[in-house]
Point group: C2
Chain length 203, copies 2
DNA sequence: TTGATACTTGACCGACCGGTCATCTTTAAG
DNA sequence: CTTAAAGATGACCGGTCGGTCAAGTATCAA
């Protein structure tokens, strides 16, 4: 209670504002001026913490990747859940998150990483690689889950690595489609099909 | 032969240039100046044909949607192919297209519709709806295919509408992932899993 | 030949973009 | 109390953005 309502430091405020704005619109569409206004920071102060907009983008990705990894990805891949249940949990989490965002903002923001990937990965190798690393990390959680499911005999053996990637791709695709429809329900309806995805091992 | 090398008219040149540039980078990142230079057109001439950049975007979407529908979507969903084969054909077509683009440009452009959807669908309702319509049309081709597959007894009955949407989502997701990795092979490896997607009918 | 219309030209506009900088205030170590 | 560094301020910069416009030229029907 004592530490409530403490204004976060300047750097954090910039980071948070940028994240929200980038997520809600796009990288190119949000200017530094707008980020500064939103974060109640002066422009010169912004450049005291970030050398450029591009560096800000990198920091935003790192920041979000952290929250993501320690947030609902960690929850969804809870080791206490049965492997298959974790997949459902992941879809549910995505659904509720997007639904909450839409209820507040009126529009489905989609996945920040997916958004940025399609927008800037053709223009900036470094950012592309960073986004790619986030995806790799996420798909490795899917892979662990599948490995365990196979070990426990819950599913027939398969190419867990490829299937994990396919599942991540499916999740991103579903979110993309839902965003285009501006309807989170798409995630709830299509999402569960993630469990049917299979890529066989080839020997 | 007689009509070879005919310079297309101004409007078409603008449209083509814009399409290529938007596809290769992004909507926001490509300026009208650059489009005009690429199309060998003066700026004032541009605004003779298109009231605004936004209207150009609409025209580009329509234009591409046409080519798309009459191009490889029409081919892939060739009625002479067995339904299941059409799914493979679609994946193959996506793979070869992206691979060709990467070999030429060095980078995977991904799907223009998916790119635009994530970039601008939160900002422009009309464009969002247009993109959504393209997706709907495409998923209905998937649906026809699934309906036929069920009729022919090639696959067990399922919710063809939902599964069709899931397949489109998967395709978009796979292309997104491949673009982020900048590696078309992702499409070839993960793509075939599209055939394993299933959403059961609920009665 | 005339006149209207389609199209082209390139200079021009204000607004905004990412980024800089000299100057000031705050903080904290010694 | 001194001093140096960290942080905050806001005016300022060149460049580019989407878009405008007055003045042309090409086309074609009557």
């Amino acid at each position: 209670m004592a530490a409530m309502n403490v204004e976060p430091n300047t750097r954090t405020r910039i980071l948070t504002s940028a994240r929200v704005l980038f997520h809600g619109r796009s990288y190119a569409d949000v200017g530094i001026k707008e980020i500064c206004d939103s974060a109640k920071v002066q422009k010169g102060s912004f450049y005291h913490f970030f050398p450029s907009k591009r560096d800000l983008a990198m920091a935003v990705i790192d920041d979000m990747a952290d929250d993501w990894a320690h947030g609902f990805v960690a929850e969804a891949f809870d080791q206490n859940l049965r492997p298959i249940e974790r997949l459902d949990y992941m879809v549910d989490a995505a659904y509720y998150w997007q639904k909450a965002a839409k209820d507040i903002e009126g529009r489905m923001p989609g996945c920040l990483f997916g958004n940025l990937a399609l927008e800037i990965s053709t223009r900036d190798e470094v950012l592309r690689a960073k986004l790619n690393a986030v995806f790799n990390k996420t798909s490795s959680r899917f892979r662990e889950t599948l490995d365990q499911a196979v070990s426990l005999g819950e599913i027939a053996p398969l190419d867990t690595e490829a299937t994990a990637q396919a599942m991540l791709a499916f999740l991103e695709g579903v979110i993309l489609l839902a965003k285009t429809r501006n309807d989170p329900e798409v995630i709830r309806i299509l999402g569960p099909a993630i469990k049917t995805l299979r890529i066989e091992r080839m020997n």
